[in-house]
Amino acid sequence: MKIPALIAVLLIGIILFWAVEDMPAFGDPDAPANHHVAQMYIERTRPDIGIDNIVTAILASYRGFDTLGETAVIFTAGISVVLLLRRGGEQ
């Protein structure tokens, strides 16, 4: 067993558990994540877009550019796998 590695792991673990104390409780309405734009999404999805699913509204409409990038990432990953795995063109 490597003593310095163990000490480093324990130290980082203690820091992480120390930080957990400052995190908001699960489902806390006063949490910072529920204050920024979440309220606007819940209120405006129905009049803006006219669909019921708020997750899809954020994914495909409010943050459509992000999802376009995600699709491009999947496409690029597929092309990379093909480039790495496919055999040469001779056979």
Binding site: D48, I49, G50, I51, D52, N53, V55, T56, A57, L59, A60, S61, G64, F65, T67, L68, T71, A72, I74, F75, A77, G78, I79, V81, V82, L85, R86, R87
Partner: protein, 144 residues
Amino acid sequence: MRENVVIRTVARLSIPFIQLFSLYVIVHGASGAGGGFQGGVVFAASFILMLIAFGLSGIRSRLGEKGAMVLATVGLFIYAGIGLLCTLFSGNYLEYAAIESALGIPHIHAFLIDIVEAGIGITVMAVMTLIILDFADREGMIRD
């Protein structure tokens, strides 16, 4: 694997239902749980089942490497094309509300989201199929 009657019969029975369910998941994305990513993966799972049951030649006669590559590109271009369509209606890129206000059709925003989800689903399905085809071809494990 080709002589196993049970696997082939079960696969033949369940593949249409898996594909139908994946289309339901894609179309249902606007009103409930679902979407292009999930539906595309379920559709690719039906192709993986086809590969296990019928071998490489069984899946290549339906969707080969070249076809999957073209489909992956087509799905991405559907998404990007919808974005460009919004600029033609004097909106920003991917601003569906511009098309809605220009044409005056009330529910076209949700319809455009469905088209975009279908594009995502096509790309995810094609990329998953492409990866599994190349793995099966390279490893030499699945032969017919």
